[in-house]
Amino acid sequence: MKKVKILFLVVFSLFALILTSCVPGGGTQPAQGWAGTVFHDGTLYVGSTDGRVVAVNPLTQNIEWSYAIAASSSSSGIMSCGQTSVPTAIYGTSAVDGDLVYIGTYDGKVLSLSTSARSQDLPFPQKRSGEWKWICSGGIVGSSVVDGDAVYITSSNGRVYSLDKEFGDLNWESDILDEKLWTTLVIRGDTIYVSTFDGHIYTLSTETGKKLPWTFKSDVGFISSPMLYDNSIFVGSFDNKLYVIKVGDDEPKWEFSGGRWFWAAPVVEDGVVYAGCLDGKVYAIDADSGRELWEFDAGGPIVASPILVDDSLVVAAESGNVYVINSKTGIGERIKNPEGDNKPSIGAPVRATLCAHEGTVYIHAQDNCLYTLDIGEERISWRLPLAIKQES
């Protein structure tokens, strides 16, 4: 019977160890964030994966200032793998308006940061400079959108919020639209367009947050943020399709099948849709008919939306490979890694939204570095680590 006891204890302990250990892929993946970069008035703004908002001068390739958003306590306890606190995850791209940078965090904070106050490293918030913090009951994954006098955000609690841009007061909150909202909303005129995981596209009033008469309902959920072009909404769904819905219609205008989810919101320009898919391909589709014009294999899932710079479509695959594709022909080249041809263009996964300015594309990779791609020279021109080294 001793053997029985020993075997039992060994098996049971092993089970407990496997179940409780921090085995990669053992359970849920921790929220790390993948904030996109935005260029405004000569400065780049990006949310780093160590929970900071960082302002970068692209000319000097230096960090102008960075602000660490207070870390939230992890749900510690005996299962926490020794972690006691984690940096605030930031997924959305900042919205910049004048001197103010608006950003939402996964632990439910919305912040307005003054670039002048942050560059002087003054205590936060400097209310005179227009700084404020607003706490939401749900985490924020989508990007903040500034329109008129308000900042609009979607929240993991399923609501859309409108905040006063100047003081951070709540203008209104919408009804609960879904169990969670992780997509970025789009505003055209007085209307907000929101796609939901449960297969709705809602239209809301920017003034009141009330639902407007037109709502589109699909049998499958929408995974991507909506893209509005020529009064049509382009959106990816959980059934590996890209749908195009004319605003006001009850049926999709057309649908296009990919190999996996169209996670990233597509880009539409001159009647052509450029859609990156998690099956590793970029599809160019005629926006009117839904006919495929060309496809390009990037070799790995595409999480970040592609970006158009003149006739060049820049695509970053999650693998770290970056391609510059001729948007007319679909013929593209992989950007080589200076350290070796067999290495990905960037030595880290890319998930964040790309940003382009005057022939340069800025890429925030998951190694918490900012890379710049010079399209003319087709090379990564510089790399800037965003993490601030802790002084001992």
Partner: protein
């Protein structure tokens, strides 16, 4: 890891999501349905375990005889007992196999629940790489994490912990034969208490979906035991552990004093 994903994790994950789609997008019901399927698959092993338990019960008089004969020589007693088990074709380890077989399924289920409910954007992104291109799978999204009062992706539900602990205690009590050896009996009693407590604690730590799986698995185990094993088994016997003569005389002397 790739092999684990291909052979165990992905089938369990996709099966769970497809079941959810079939069962009106109810993820809780899908977990219960999967539990039933798993229990049906390992039913032959469960039956073997029940037969083994019954055989051991039938051998009690023989064991008692050995207790009387070799009570003072524990080593010899163990040897003789093993000999008797061998002659009767009973493997004392046999009762563990159904549990051992379930371990990979538990781990896969734990991973599947966490992956399927995708509580972080990273998890949702990773999920797409594990999905089959079945219509039932794509139509199941988004999965609701709510079932009855439970948050299947959240941690720590006390009521569920109590249910898991209580059902596990009942199931163990039904199947664990009293031992003639007082030390063994004391060990059994301790295990009967420790296991439900530990699993109750696990429920408080792990996602509610895994707790639901354990609760459903225990209830199914109780039902199987009741109908195939013949009623409530050892649950109804209050203190049926046979005692060795030494213990009996000790108890008698304690009563007399």
């Amino acid at each position: 890891m790739e092999l684990w994903n291909a052979i165990i994790l992905n089938p369990v994950l996709n099966g769970l999501i497809a079941l959810s789609s079939i069962l009106s997008n109810n993820f809780g019901l899908a977990i219960i349905a999967l539990t039933i399927i798993v229990r049906l698959i390992i039913l032959p092993l469960t039956l073997k375990q029940l037969n083994s338990t019954k055989a051991m019960q039938g051998m009690q008089p023989k064991i008692q005889e050995l207790q009387k004969k070799y009570g003072k020589n524990q080593q010899k007693l163990q040897q003789e007992m093993m000999k008797v088990y061998k002659e009767a074709g009973v493997n004392p380890l046999g009762c563990l196999w159904p549990m051992v077989v379930q371990f990979p399924v538990w781990i896969a289920l734990y991973q599947s629940i966490m992956r399927a409910l995708a509580t972080t954007p990273e998890s949702l992104l990773d999920l797409s790489q594990h999905l089959y291109s079945w219509q039932a799978v794509s139509q199941a999204f988004p999965l609701s994490s709510h079932f009855l009062w439970l948050n299947l992706g959240g941690q720590g539900d006390l009521i569920l912990a109590i249910i898991v602990g209580a059902t596990m205690w009942v199931q163990q009590k039904m199947t664990t034969a009293p031992s003639p050896d007082p030390r063994q009996q004391s060990m059994n009693s301790m295990m009967q208490l420790m296991m439900p407590l530990m699993f109750g604690m696990f429920v408080l730590m792990f996602p509610g979906g895994l707790g639901l799986f354990w609760a459903a698995s225990n209830v199914i185990g109780i039902v199987i035991q009741y109908f195939i094993g013949g009623g409530w088994g050892y649950l109804r016997s209050r203190s049926s552990a046979p005692t060795t003569p030494a213990v009996a005389s000790k108890r008698a002397s304690q009563k007399g004093s």
